[in-house]
């Protein structure tokens, strides 16, 4: 099966997230809040050969577009990802993710003394650095394992 066929086959309306860093597909699902109970029709390809990346993951979600917050966090764990919006089996819009300046909500701070981890009416907030993210409240820097901070509600 060619890369092109894999990318566009099967899905009628929804989003194909392509060129995900190999091994990050399940974290992408976590960002999207997709699990066994969520009812979305999803297909996942892991470690698919890729001209650009050598090896990549791909996630296709039927009947769903991504919010900007979701795309922002996605960009942190899969900076090369492309987002294809599919309608009637055709890619109608295609764009690369961009790293945002900050990420609000979605991730939780790994510092257990951080005020955002307590029962306060405040959302987590991270500044995006060149090589990681940084909690706006407690200054903690996360470089590796950003996906582990995904706050799955």
């Amino acid at each position: 099966m060619s890369d092109r066929e894999l990318r566009v086959s099967k899905i009628r309306d929804g989003t194909v997230i392509d060129h995900i860093t190999a091994g990050q597909a399940l974290n992408v699902l976590a960002i999207l809040g997709i699990d066994a109970d969520s009812g979305d029709a999803v297909s996942v390809g892991m470690r698919v050969p890729s001209d650009r990346l050598g090896s990549k993951d791909i996630v296709k979600v039927e009947g769903r577009e991504l919010s900007q917050d979701e795309v922002d966090v996605l960009s942190l764990i899969a900076p090369a990802a492309t987002i294809n919006i599919v309608q009637e089996f055709d890619v109608v819009k295609k764009h690369r993710v961009e790293r945002p300046e900050e990420v609000v909500g979605v991730l939780s701070c790994p510092n257990r003394h951080c005020i955002t981890t307590e029962d306060e009416p405040v959302e987590s907030r991270f500044d995006v650095l060149d090589d990681g993210i940084r909690c706006t409240y407690c200054d903690t820097i996360v470089r590796d394992a950003i996906a582990e901070q995904i706050d799955v509600a």
Binding site: I115, E118, D139
Partner: protein, 304 residues
């Protein structure tokens, strides 16, 4: 200064710092002139962990400006119901006071609390995070004793958890200062602080021993290494002993070395140093009052 809230030393420019220190020097020189500057002003003290000295210092500053304090009392007492969020507490106390002082064990608490109130909020220590008013009084002391030009400072002890160290290191990036950090390997500066200092282009070096740098220093800022940072007592004793100073240690130091400490100390500075010209830590503590008077004066609208 145009900051409503004083949250972090990072927000302070050189001009801000000098404005506070200049006004503190005026307050120290002529306290009478400040005695009725803020009659009727009320400062709300929200201390979620005990800190008698910091609280007394703010209280003294408020009273010396002609104002007074309202104190929520110890956490767990009837006035602060356990389980109430910090966001709610500060919104309530805001109604009683013209400015708030917050001490809280969680990092980022002052930043968060400031987002819920309209009156100025001053961070008096948030966990291992920031302690900007301590930094201002440290800077005041450094300016008085050693000056800010061509300054070489050694900062020694627990650099990982010491919020006074983090705030001071940030603030010193505004000046022409070489910073030498001396600590055990396990208590080195945290990554986030090193990141900021690097971003600011600060001149910093890290050491595990004081000896190689001692003779270059204008200022030696000593902090306490706490036993609870170590898994067992013997490991603590072995390490802490390396970072204690006495008159013998200081034989290699310059005669005009300024020794500072945020206090309270345990045994990291031998008492025999107290009577020498090196000792500036009690003066440093006293400087807390004029510096906090200056800060309160500025946040309460003391521009003449």
């Amino acid at each position: 200064m145009r900051h409503d809230h004083i949250i972090s030393a990072k927000q302070l420019s050189r001009a801000d710092i000098e404005a506070v220190l200049d006004r503190a020097a005026e307050a120290a020189a002529d306290p009478e002139a400040f005695a009725d500057r803020h009659e009727n002003a009320l400062l709300g003290l929200c201390f979620f962990e005990p800190s008698t000295r910091t609280k007394m210092s703010f209280t003294a500053a408020a009273k010396r400006l002609g104002g007074d304090v309202v104190d929520m009392g110890p956490v767990g007492s009837s006035s602060v119901k356990k389980g109430e969020s910090l966001a709610d507490t500060v919104r309530v106390v805001e109604g009683y006071a013209d400015a708030l002082v917050l001490r809280h064990p969680s990092e980022g608490s002052a930043q968060m609390a400031s987002e819920f109130v309209d009156v100025p909020l001053i961070n008096a220590g948030d966990g291992a995070g920031q302690h900007p008013t301590q930094t201002l009084l440290d800077l005041y002391t450094i300016r008085e004793s050693a000056g800010f030009d061509d300054l070489t400072i050694g900062i020694m002890g627990d650099l990982k958890y010491g919020r006074t160290v983090h705030s001071l290191a940030h603030a010193l990036t505004n000046f022409d200062a070489d910073q030498h950090f001396v600590s055990p390997e396990s208590l080195k500066l945290p990554r986030s602080v090193r990141y900021d200092l690097h971003e600011e282009g600060a001149s910093i070096r890290e050491h595990t021993e004081l000896d190689p740098v001692l003779s270059e220093l204008d200022v030696l800022y000593v902090t306490r290494i706490q036993a609870e940072r170590f898994p067992d007592e013997s490991e603590y004793r072995a390490i802490a002993g390396e970072y204690q100073i006495d008159t013998e240690t200081l034989e290699a130091a310059r005669d005009d070395l300024t020794v500072m400490h945020p206090l309270p100390r345990v045994d990291e500075i031998a008492h025999e140093i107290d009577d020498t010209d090196y000792a500036h830590y009690f003066q440093q503590a006293h400087n807390g009052v004029p510096v906090r008077m200056a800060l309160l004066d500025l946040v309460l609208g003391g521009d003449r």
